[in-house]
């Protein structure tokens, strides 16, 4: 199946290809990634604080 339904104006493939998720999608499998993003964000913010001299 070749995709021909690109969302016009999308600037990336997430916007172009995303579809509503069915109930069977392995949603829970993403929580580790989400948690990692949280940790990464927190670390970047902490490092940013250090660079800015706020602590």
């Amino acid at each position: 199946m070749t995709n021909t339904i690109a969302e016009s104006g999308a600037s990336n493939l997430y916007d172009a290809l995303a579809e509503p998720a069915p109930p069977t999608a392995e949603k829970g499998d993403t929580i580790l990634t989400a948690a990692k993003e949280t940790i990464d964000n927190d670390r970047e913010e902490a490092e940013g604080s250090v660079l800015l001299g706020s602590r």
Binding site: T2, A6, A16, K27, I31, I39
Partner: protein, 313 residues
């Protein structure tokens, strides 16, 4: 067997069906695991001091030792959607980060023997790292590349390409609805490839599958289940029925390679996707914290038991 003062640690929710299944198996061995995740910590009086975590549950206090006497399995750091809608840099993000720091202080305890250590879980979610590990071992994978511009897609990938997200394939949109990005097939001429620069996606050579394999590994054991690719879309997960159509199979070569790959990556559990084409078997990707209970019961129960026995050892 397990010391009474060092119960197995399950990082996950007591409502997660996979964690529940492993806990039931442990209880059949008269072992009561301790559940802990961000949501448990948020809702339970607790103390963490030196190497001891105490949760003061309604039925009484339970304790876990974060030292070499304990074994643990990291299923999920937090339940799906736990404090998810938080603006980066906000007060709520700081609070969420504090809870996450606490749960990772537990799940990241080096002294505990984890089925898969937290750091390996994070690193090995990465499809590029997985492919490189497979290549080091001489395991066949579809030729692939990650590129910012379509002109950098290597010609050796051919004209029919497979494109899949390098990051999470699922997200919640601004309206709060769950979205998913399936693996897509497209030609090299597709205008969609103009958007590669907006977010990294893995571009692969198209390999036609005759069968899909889901291979699960626990330490040095592995199980393979097969799904006939006939009449299925490229990404079988699009078809609800396909989840329940896997049948247990025997693929000794693939099962052995799957164990080798998991060992190379340093992960005690993996849920791997392979395809069998007319030219042989190819490793596609793996999830170091993927699901297995949708597989036929004969396999699912063996996987559950293997994790429980490892925790009980």
């Amino acid at each position: 067997l397990v010391r009474a003062d060092a119960p197995p640690i399950i990082v996950g929710s007591a409502e997660d069906e996979h964690a529940v299944a492993v806990a039931a198996e442990l209880r059949s061995l008269s072992i009561e695991p301790i559940f802990v995740d961000a949501a448990v910590l948020e809702s339970t009086p607790y103390s963490l001091s030196h190497e001891e975590l105490t949760l003061r549950l309604p039925g009484g206090a339970v304790r876990a030792r974060l030292d070499s006497s304990s074994r643990g399995w990291i299923r999920r750091l937090a339940p799906p959607h736990w404090r998810r809608a938080v603006v980066s840099g906000s007060r709520d993000a700081a609070i969420r980060g504090a809870w996450m720091s606490l749960v990772t202080a537990i799940a990241g305890a080096d002294e505990v023997r984890w089925l898969t250590p937290l750091g390996r879980l994070f690193l090995c979610e990465n499809k590029v790292r997985q492919n490189l590990a497979a290549e080091r071992l001489g395991i066949a994978t579809p030729d692939s590349a990650v590129v910012s511009n379509r002109e950098y897609i290597p010609s050796r990938l051919g004209d029919m390409l497979v494109v899949k997200p390098l990051g999470s394939a699922a997200f919640t949109d601004t309206a709060g609805d769950e979205q998913v990005v399936w693996t897509h097939e497209m030609t090299r001429q597709s205008p969609l490839l103009d958007k590669l620069g907006g977010a990294p996606f893995l571009v692969q050579k198209r390999v036609r599958a005759k069968r899909h394999l889901r291979v699960v590994t626990v330490e040095r054991r592995s199980w393979a289940c097969a799904l006939d690719a006939t009449d299925l879309p490229l990404d079988w997960r699009r078809h609800d029925d396909a989840h329940m159509a896997f049948v247990a199979t025997s693929e000794p070569s693939v099962e052995g390679e799957a164990v080798r790959l998991a060992e190379e990556l340093g992960i005690g559990y993996s849920s791997q996707d392979w395809i069998v084409s007319s030219s042989g078997a190819y490793f596609l990707d793996l999830n170091p914290a993927g699901q297995w209970l949708f597989l036929p019961n004969a396999v699912a129960s063996e996987v559950t038991k293997a994790i429980a026995l490892w925790l009980a050892a």
